[in-house]
Amino acid sequence: MTMQVTVRKQLGSADRHFALDIAFDSDSRRIALFGPSGAGKSLTLRAIAGLLTPDSGRIVLNGRTLFDSEARINVRPQERRVAYLFQDYALFPHLTVEQNIAFGLARGWRNPRRGASHPEARRWIDAFGLRAITGNYPGEISGGQKQRAALARALVAQPDIVLLDEPFSALDPALRVRMRAELRALQANLEVPMLVISHDPDDVEALGDHVLEVREGRIFGAAPVKGHPQVYAPASAHIV
């Protein structure tokens, strides 16, 4: 996989101002953006998914241009083939787990039927051990199950890349460790590249080969090779 991202965006109201100016290239299948909250990681992810339009820049994934301000290219999020795992999973509360997972398979104006079997969705339901709760609603399942369901929903669409926004922040510490191991195993078994953003060094170490540190809207440091780069130490750690 190859990925070239240049994103510039000015955001702000009268009293608050934020400048996003991110640029990085990667050919890793496991990219991690690391940095404190408010650094612009989520904005970068939203720009890659097409949910945020940059002021200028260029986003190229596997040679396919998704956004180019100069060439006036802006592929709609629907056609980017980029999956997005939201921080709190954003499962549709009015649909069952199976309907959620099959959501991307239904093309028309109607949701997948409740109780009907969707073979492509079934594959991921079995892979994530969700068979017992296919008929449940998101409000009725645990945090770990929600994450598995959200991952299954994202993978059914056969995306070119999966973007993960702070994937474990909604989980309690014990579950976090387990889900992190699970996601790592998934990375090892699947071909699909993943870009994860997190403020947690443990996430970055487990899930990223190419680690980029983001601070105040910019890429601050990078560790292109697997290792323990010094950027892991938060910049403010020695000040306190």
Partner: protein, 226 residues
């Protein structure tokens, strides 16, 4: 005229008029509410205020506006007449009057319901490849449906009780434009207390049933929203 007829004729006309007004409002009110909830513009508040006007203006003022606009010598009256549409002194005129009077009730509830839908869920559908129209019908509308249904029921109740604007536009023709509330007015004027009592009772019961149904649907239960 038997007592049964005295109740049934205006009741069925009221239900017909309120039913049509509700169908029209369900489409127009929900459409306008969705547009307003997504429209980023300074003019939005002005448009919202104008569309809410029927809620605060006296119905007689609305009726007068309607006569000016669609009356036989009104601004659009002649043009409508050539199309064969006659609104003054017809039940269709009563439908138009009721629709306008009840419109803000659907608009307000539906707009609040649409604004309460988590934008992230729409984004989630977007990255899953769902076209915008699909997002509306598969995510936004179902999640806003409770608020919308409650607003539509309120609008139905309001249309059922419409008096002022309806009287001015459609008049008081027994069997043709005489709705329940107009029939009550006439019964009282004529000193026919028995008919008046019966009509008042029927109207009250119908409205209470509707309001209980509306109250059941809003606020939404916690379980439905995680």
């Amino acid at each position: 005229m038997t007592t049964l007829e005295a109740v049934w004729v205006p009741l069925s006309l009221s239900l017909k008029v309120a039913g049509w007004a509700t169908v029209l409002n369900a489409v127009l009110g929900v459409g306008a509410a969705f547009a307003l909830s997504r429209w980023q513009s300074a003019a939005r508040d002005v448009v919202d205020a104008l569309l809410t006007l029927p809620l605060v203006l006296p119905p007689t003022v609305l009726g007068y506006y309607l006569l000016v606009l669609v009356g036989r010598r009104g601004i659009f009256g002649e043009w409508l007449g050539r199309l064969g549409i006659e609104l003054v002194f017809t039940w269709q005129g009563a439908v138009v009057a009721s629709t306008i009077v009840a419109f803000p009730l659907v608009l307000k509830s539906a707009r609040a319901a649409f604004e309460g839908v988590d934008a992230q869920l729409e984004d989630a559908a977007r990255v899953l490849g769902t076209p915008e129209a699909g997002i509306f019908f598969r995510v936004t509308l179902p999640l806003a449906s409770r608020g919308i249904i409650a607003g539509v029921l309120l609008a139905f109740a309001r249309a059922l009780g419409e008096f002022g604007a309806t009287l001015m536009v459609a008049g008081n023709l027994p069997g043709r434009t005489q709705t329940l509330s107009v029939a009550i007015y006439e019964a009282v004027q004529a000193g026919d207390d028995n008919t008046a009592n019966l009509l008042v009772l029927v109207t009250s019961v119908t409205c209470v049933v509707l309001l209980v149904a509306a109250g059941r649907l809003v606020p939404p239960t916690r379980k439905a929203f995680r």
